[in-house]
Amino acid sequence: MSCKRYVDVIARFYEDGRLLPLAIWWADGVMYEIDRVLDVRPAASLKAGGAGIRYTCRIQGREKYLWREQDRWFVEAKQNAG
């Protein structure tokens, strides 16, 4: 019943060392482009169960959290999401 969903992410390393996600590649093969990263900070997700760097992303007009947990990325998925 955990709603932690690891996802594929396309990201860009900037020359100053920053790492920002550009798109999330969902398991069903659909790619969601990230319009803008609004905030980056260390944060835990009680819902998904994990902690790391949290990116607040605007995707299709809506704000979504995306976490980088060491080498992997995850999102808080809805219970019934495929």
Partner: protein, 412 residues
């Protein structure tokens, strides 16, 4: 100037990290249990709910299950705990670079010289909030003017709480507490104190130091200092440490070593500093490794795995000397020698062996080491030396913790 020292302690650390990662067990009694000494698993930590069933750290898994049949027992994942430990330390270092870890889940912070002039309570409040948001677990923090009372403060109220133990209120807060709440006062010391009618920290504080010294030797002096809030040991400064796999020291000796007695002296000095670094970093180790190079530069290493984890100087040095005697035939004098400890675990892991072995004797050895650490911190590395080192000043007169001849982690 009065110092401002925080002691931050992650509550039910292993269990909290597990509960964060497994939302489905959060509302249940949870314990982290390990097969610490092969066959018989014991409880390493438990969450608040399991505490209500009186599940205790160190007890056998079957005992815990008897008290609490629904107990969820998960195996330990030290790598994960180390990561969370480092995340917590990174937060602490945003406030000061005087951060001294004590085990994986505790640390002292000296925030006396806060660049923004915030007081201890303000910083503690901020850290408490950040740990909750960024790590998803809770801490309790003690704020005081010395390390010992800061530690008492972090134990005073938990989880997720802050307690100030100041010069104005330590008699009300610290003194009514049992002596065993003091750092390093284990069961053996407690029993001995009780025989003398000393039950609380206040009782201890009001016992003349001379009396305590009569009962406990050097250790009595330390106890008296602790109870009166006179501990002035500094919060050590640590860099950003990588995950430690082994701790070792080696040295090229001031003159070639010619016999077992010479080697004994050098190994004792090296083992002392290895043990001290293990304690400072919150580890115990089980595999002792020595490396020996003779004056023809022929070298070899040998290792031996002990029955239980240790950070006690005499146990490490005895094991090293045993290895050496078994493997060296004195065909040539020795130019350099080293000793290291590997197979490390956090020293908060209770060892089941301790339950059956000579507990009082071991506690005495640990106290001896702690007292020596304490005096060395105060007066420098040469303040206290075991008698074996006085036999040859030329050999033992190097300070392996400061000298550049040390080769820390991973030298061999």
């Amino acid at each position: 100037m009065e110092r401002v020292i925080l002691h931050s302690d992650c509550n039910s650390f292993y269990a909290s990290v597990e509960c964060l990662h497994r939302p489905e067990i959060r509302e249940k009694p949870v314990a982290v249990g390990g097969d610490v000494e092969q066959r018989h698993g014991i409880i390493l930590t438990k969450n608040q709910i399991a505490k209500r069933y009186h599940v205790k750290t160190g007890e056998a898994l079957w005992q815990a299950r008897q008290k609490c049949p629904d107990l969820v027992i998960v195996p330990p994942n030290y790598e994960l705990y180390m990561r969370f430990s480092q995340m917590a330390r990174r937060i602490y270092r945003d406030y000061t670079d005087l951060v001294e870890p004590f085990g994986l889940d505790e640390a002292w912070l000296d925030v006396t010289a806060d660049s923004r002039g915030r007081d201890g309570m303000t910083i503690a409040e901020e850290i408490r909030g950040r740990i909750k948001n960024e790590l998803g677990i809770t801490v309790s923090i003690g704020v005081s003017y010395n390390k010992i009372f800061a530690k008492l403060g972090s134990d005073y109220k938990k989880p997720d709480a802050i307690t100030r133990v100041g010069k104005d209120n330590y008699r009300e807060i610290a003194w009514p507490l049992p002596c065993s709440d003091l750092l390093y006062v284990g069961r053996a010391t407690k029993r001995k104190l009780e025989r003398y009618g000393i039950h609380t920290i206040g009782d201890l504080a009001n016992t003349p130091e001379r009396t305590l010294r009569g009962w406990f030797g050097k250790w009595g002096e330390v106890l008296s200092c602790f109870a009166n809030g006179l501990d002035c040991s500094p919060v050590a400064r640590y860099g950003n440490q990588p995950t430690v796999k082994s701790v070792g020291n080696s040295t090229t000796t001031p003159r070639d070593l010619k016999n077992d007695e010479d080697v004994k002296i050098i190994l004792y000095v090296l083992a002392g500093s290895v043990a001290r670094r293990l304690r400072e970093q919150g580890f115990k180790g089980r595999t002792v490794c020595i490396s020996v190079r003779d004056n023809q530069l022929f070298s070899f290493t040998r290792q031996h795995t002990l029955g239980s984890y240790t950070n006690i100087t005499s146990e490490i040095s005895d094991a090293g000397l045993g290895l050496f005697r078994k493997h060296y035939r004195w065909e040539r004098p020795i130019r350099s020698i080293g000793i290291s400890m590997a197979d490390l675990v956090p020293d908060t892991v209770p060892s089941q062996a301790n339950l059956y072995r000579d507990e009082a004797g071991r506690e005495r050895l640990e106290h001896l080491d702690r007292a020596v650490d304490w005096l060395k911190n105060r007066f420098g590395s040469f303040a206290v030396q075991p008698a074996v080192l006085l036999t040859d000043r030329q050999l033992s007169g190097f300070d392996p913790k400061k000298d550049h001849t040390i080769h820390p982690v991973g030298y061999f």
